[in-house]
Amino acid sequence: MLLVLGRRLANVVPTMLAVVALVFLLFSVLPGSFISGMNEDGRSAMDPAVMERMRKEMGLDDPLLERFAKYVANTARGDLGTSFRTREPVTKMLSGRIWPSLKLVLAAMTFAILVGVTLGFLAALRPGSWIDTASMVGAISGLSLSQFWFGLMLMYLFALKLQWLPSFGYGDGGLRNLVLPAIALGVGPMALLARTTRAAVLDVLNADFVRTARSKGMSERRVVEWHVLRNALVLVITIVGLQFGSLMGQAVVVEKLFAWPGVGSLMVDSVFQRDMPTVQGCILMIVLFFLVINTLVDLAYVVIDPRIRYQ
């Protein structure tokens, strides 16, 4: 297990460096800057002298390589720079956004696992039944849905028509405000998990060792619990891991729609306003989250399937 962990951690540093370089260079070649962007809505006129001073203050006049080297050195020390927009440390801004994002992603994934795995499992145990058909229709619909549209529909139904839940916002951070954005975000992974679980379980149900277990007189319940579930879990966990890791990045649309104060909405705002240090900080955070989740998934394989340990 330590070997797996070591290998994974060794990959983190070059991956992060590559991401930082890519984001930094992309933003440097894009036309427009934070300062010219302050005029974007035509509602505020910027003064040329102030613009010049801001460029100097923000180091935008320095050579690209010098800025990049400075950024990498500071990042290595845990300093992600100062936001152009708020003039506050990016680490401070991110710290206020991580918990809402994590909460949303965890809730969405919990919804996806509970509903998706259950549906997929039931569908696989009774292939061709109405449960199977209904689950797979639901799964395909879930995969095709636009998060934005589905979120609006949830708002319309549960907030406007039924008046069960608030339509938007963080509220006091409680469950009432979390439910709708979590479902909107979780419906895609839920659908994918339902399909994957069904396929994995069906595959295992037809395996030789399951037939052997049955021929030895083992009860169907024990076969499913002891042999099928555990073997199907490896594929399911892979999908859970990949989806979980990428959900933080996918949450952008849902966070904006529901006015949820997460990393995604901060990133979108910062991109539009060319607040480079904040965009870089957000992307680093999302990539780091993805890498951590994937490392945990790799470790989980070792626990679930001992064969992986020996490889």
């Binding site: 001073r53 938007f168 901060l266």
Partner: protein
């Protein structure tokens, strides 16, 4: 209230940010020397009780309020104004308000780090401030901007001011959940007796129009800004249509032609032809869904220098062709039109314009850029023409200076118009101490611009605020409708808020 322009606030330190989104909250927490009186459609003193002006019009002596308290309980004095304006001119910071404070004599020296103090600011006593300015203009236009708010030195110097802002406004800061909301509470020592009426004010960030619509219909929010699509739906709804506040904001949407980069644009007849060739009324009704007022010239209707007798250019393609032929372009010409994606003054409008101009022989090549790039291109003069929204008030003189031949391109002269008569009118207006006479001169200048047609005059933004039936005291503020003075707002007994 809702903040509709972005998914977060930039900063709660008003000196740091010039964005309209941030000023929504700043109006509740902070105060400036002047404010905009919507009912009277003019500027008025806010932090001073009276002002006297020297005969040369350059020295203003303010009798400051002696009943204005910061939220930390300390009384405001002249020192706070001096501190705030000096901070804005900090040579190491790019505070946007510097463009206004630079009006004060000696402010530039602080900006250049040649002095620690602004020589044009003199404290007579705790509640009397003498301000010497460098230009004969109304300082109200400069010191009502949110970026010039008065802040308490001791709180600013503690650091971290944006996280716990302290101001002079009617509401004191309570909580900021970045990306979600700012909550403020009634400030009992606010200097306007009996105000504010509300106990609590929450500004909720809601950048998505569709989500705002659901929340408004669900009565979760009290006010909402409407876009063109919702404006149509709300007007058609018997209930919702009763709660709509409209105002012609001080933003003029136009195609700015760069006279220096395209030769035909140097000819007034060509520019006039473009104004005749485009059916602006059709575009406003069909594409903008009537959420705009047709523009006649550069200054908006709320300006004292706006001439109500002038009619917009009519749609007359035949006249356009005739003018083009007279100018030596009977077969038209070609130019590149830079645009953003904006639904009200961007690509959809350009798509409608292309066939209209083609009908008179002018070929338009659209160039799509991100909105953040528009100003940069204009400042560098890299545009042939661009369509955008321009701040055109409330200072009519400053606004018209964008067409003054000596104004540099970087300071908003994006057309390069050269008209000696126009320049003289502006020079005379700047020297005129009598405001009524000054407005008359500016009116002439604005009408001259109509004739010169340096741009295609499209529309003045019609800002639309939807409000719930229990909300009272909202102001149709033409400087920006979301900028409400919240001390005047109250809710009646039908409000669902407990």
């Amino acid at each position: 209230m809702t903040a509709p322009y972005a998914a977060s606030f930039g900063s709660l330190d008003p000196h740091v940010t010039p964005r309209a989104q941030d000023d929504i909250v700043n109006k509740a927490i902070h105060r400036t020397l002047y404010n905009w009186n919507t009912a009277a459609n003019k500027l008025e003193l806010e932090l001073a009780k009276s002002v006297s002006v020297s005969p040369d019009g350059l020295t203003y002596t303010y009798k400051l309020r002696d009943d204005a308290y910061f939220h930390n309980g300390r009384k405001m004095t002249a020192d706070d104004l001096i501190f705030s304006y000096s901070r804005i001119m900090d040579s190491t910071k790019g505070y946007p308000g510097a463009r206004y404070v630079r009006l004060i004599k000696g402010a530039v020296d602080v900006e250049k780090n040649q002095s620690k103090e602004i020589s044009g600011l003199k404290k007579i006593d705790d509640f009397t401030l003498e301000m010497t300015i460098t230009d004969r203009v109304d300082p109200g236009y400069y010191f009502f901007a949110g970026t010039t708010a008065i802040l308490p030195r001791e709180e600013v110097e503690k650091g971290n001011f944006a996280s716990s802002p302290v101001g002079l406004g009617p509401f004191k800061f309570k909580e900021h959940i970045p990306g979600s909301r700012v909550t403020t509470e009634r400030f009992d020592k606010f200097y306007k007796t009996g105000k504010p009426y509300l106990d609590k004010l929450e500004v909720l960030i809601m950048a998505e129009a569709a989500a705002r619509d659901v929340a408004f219909r669900n009565k979760e929010i009290d006010t909402s800004i409407l876009g063109p699509a919702q404006y149509v739906a709300y007007r058609a709804d018997p209930q919702l249509s009763k709660g709509i506040l409209e105002v012609a904001e001080m933003f003029t949407r136009a195609i700015t032609m760069n006279h220096e980069s395209i030769k035909p644009f140097q000819d007034k007849r060509v520019r006039q032809a473009i104004n005749y060739a485009i059916d602006a009324n059709l575009i406003i009704s069909r594409l903008v869904k009537d959420k705009a007022y047709r523009a006649t010239s550069w200054l908006p209707p709320s300006s004292a220098a706006f001439d109500k007798t002038v009619k917009p250019y009519p749609y007359d393609p035949e006249k356009a062709k005739k003018l083009l032929a007279e100018a030596g372009y009977p077969n038209g010409f070609e130019f590149e039109l830079t645009t953003s994606q904006n639904e009200s003054w961007g690509l959809p409008i350009v798509e409608a314009i292309i066939p209209m101009l083609a009908r008179v022989g002018i070929k338009v090549k659209p160039k799509l850029v991100e909105v953040t790039v528009l100003t940069e291109l204009a400042m560098k003069g890299e545009h042939q023409a661009y369509i955008g929204s321009n701040l055109t008030g409330p200072d009519s003189l400053a606004t018209l200076r964008c067409y003054y031949s000596k104004t540099p391109r970087t300071a908003c002269n994006y057309t390069g118009l050269k008209n000696a008569e126009f320049d003289k009118l502006l020079d005379d207006a700047a020297q005129e101490g009598d405001m009524a006479k000054r407005d008359e001169l500016l009116k002439k200048a604005n009408n001259l611009l109509y004739d010169e047609a340096p741009v295609w005059f499209f529309n003045y933004n019609k800002a639309v605020l939807a409000y719930q039936p229990w909300v009272r005291g909202l102001q149709a503020n033409p400087t920006e409708i979301t900028h409400q003075y919240p001390e005047d707002i109250w809710v009646d007994a039908s409000s669902p808020a407990k």
